[in-house]
Symmetry: C2
Subunit: 333 residues, 2 copies
């Protein structure tokens, strides 16, 4: 089946109102596909789901150790954070320790995704800065690597040593030459790859603790950092944070824009990558939760799993008007 | 072809990143299908695209004339407005004229979709009220009809005389018995129908000016009101408002949640109904613009058409990183 398959159903009253299609791949500890929905070969942009790949050179280069990066900062370098106060303070102090400031970032600005802070900033007539951008941790990681490499200030240029190092690491762990790149929401290049290759990269991370080469040691360290600091990887109420916390075994999950989600299962050496074809986050969150339930990694009855796998839809008066649920075929892998 | 067809492509750099599928139907002045993409028989919730159907009893009952409703208020009764000051003031004064207030509404609350007002309300620590809900005009229409009918206060109850009248009108102009309903975002019942039946209803509206029965006169009056007051039907920068203004001939368009869009072409007697299967508004806006371009109703080069049909995607630094475009097959009808 190379066509996208149903992954998430949206119900209202007695009828199916909308349907999300997508592709999903689970790979084993050798990177072989052991379960596929849709087309494992589909070319995708992993977007932010590849942040732990983009952080590999930060560790393998020796930059992270030279700068004495804490595990929390390693987690932030892989984060799509909410721009909540804890993230802002962490990125701000990291930049200070580098002798740098907000103006050195090249991620652009976006309003904080933390409602309380966003509203406070509106009340204070305070415009968002680059530190509020969900990718500011990744970019501070880029700046850390850049200081180590001695590159120029425009570190998001695809030909800059930082991005060349990212591409090399990306192609190494996906096991595939990227056919090209697009520019991400944070201005960094995002390398295209196949869904299967992205899952294979996650199997690389899931098995990294059992190997001793530089790339594997870095991968194991980044995965461990993400697991140890789930709120820094995303934030309060967010799928990545809550699913990692709800897991009954070691688990790393990471969302990416336009309907991407990955999982790393260090206890099994398995990787998961999925893409909602239409780019919908509600579908990718539902589907990753369903695949994790089907594998027994999380429980469907856990409220922080159910809120993504089978969320209820409420209207402006709080009336329950419908719900989402995973396509039944996701459980028939 | 009963499967949904590609309707909108999302490109980033050199690659297709996401793809929206959907169904679309164009009907002629007799309600017959003259162009179909996907499955004309697909069952859908029209959501807010059926507001002019829900407003029919307001006019046919004599309530609108008994209360001396202006054309602007008729347009508001068919609106999914932005909750901008002009909408708030108009609904507020309409409620006052009825001797009613915000507490009589049953639509629930939602924040204003007008950014300036929404931010001002946050600065003033002012919570949104029911008048800010995008459906408050429709609900004030319900209240107007209810006063005329002498019904009880819970006018969103599916068995209430107001909703029974809505269902009767809905089934009359769609030419189909609705198989059931769901509860909408505003707590009113939303009746399911086929996409073809929804397009047929739009052909009914598009030809209504040529007939003299009560239902047709009401339909012609509502369509004329929407055309005359496009900013009251939606708001600044919104697709419905801008596409109606950009049209080279009489045109009514109306969006509905979960990827629905309809068009009424009174100069041709034609109706259009489409549904993005995944519920994405970016796809339904792109597809309705494309179908209107393909028919010669609007020009692709008009900036207020291009912004929905082929919008550019910019990131946090203002860099153009991609674009949307309609699936080529939409032009091959």
């Amino acid at each position: 089946m190379t066509q996208p398959q149903p992954i998430c159903e949206v119900w209202r009253g007695p009828f199916l109102e909308s349907l999300h299609l997508g592709h999903a791949v689970i790979t084993d500890d050798t990177g072989q596909v052991i379960q596929a929905h849709g087309d494992p070969g589909v070319l995708i942009f992993p977007r932010s789901s590849a942040k732990m790949l983009q952080a590999l050179p930060l560790v393998t280069s020796g930059a992270a150790d030279a700068k004495g990066l804490s595990e929390m900062r390693l987690a932030l370098s892989c984060a799509s954070h909410s721009g909540a106060p804890l993230h802002i303070e962490a990125v701000d102090s990291w930049l200070s320790d580098l002798g740098l400031g907000e103006g050195d970032l090249r991620c652009g600005t976006e309003p904080s995704r933390d409602k309380e802070l966003r509203h406070q900033m509106i009340r204070d007539s305070q415009a968002p800065c680059q530190i509020h951008h969900n990718c500011s941790g990744k970019h501070t990681g880029f700046l850390t690597l850049n200081q180590h490499l001695g590159g120029g200030s425009e570190y998001v240029d695809p030909d800059h040593p930082v991005q060349r190092a990212c591409r090399e690491a990306f192609e190494d762990v996906t096991g595939m030459t990227s056919p090209g790149f697009g520019i991400d929401g944070c201005s960094a290049p995002n390398f295209a790859t196949s869904l299967q290759a992205l899952a294979r990269a996650m199997s690389f991370f899931a098995t990294a603790h059992s190997r001793n080469d530089t790339q594997s040691r870095a991968a194991a360290r980044l995965a461990a950092a993400m697991r140890a600091w789930p709120e820094h990887v995303a934030g309060k109420g967010r799928a990545c944070t809550l699913l990692m916390r709800a897991a009954k075994e070691p688990l790393v999950v990471k969302t990416g824009a336009e309907g991407v989600f990955i999982a790393i299962l260090p206890g099994r050496g398995m990787g998961i990558a999925l893409k909602a074809s239409d780019g919908a986050t509600r579908a990718s969150e539902c589907a990753i939760a369903a695949l994790l339930v089907s594998l027994g990694v999380v429980d469907a009855a856990h409220p922080d799993v159910a809120r993504f796998m089978t969320p209820k839809l409420h209207n402006g008066r709080g009336v329950e008007v419908g719900y989402l649920r995973p396509a039944p075929s996701l459980f028939a892998g």
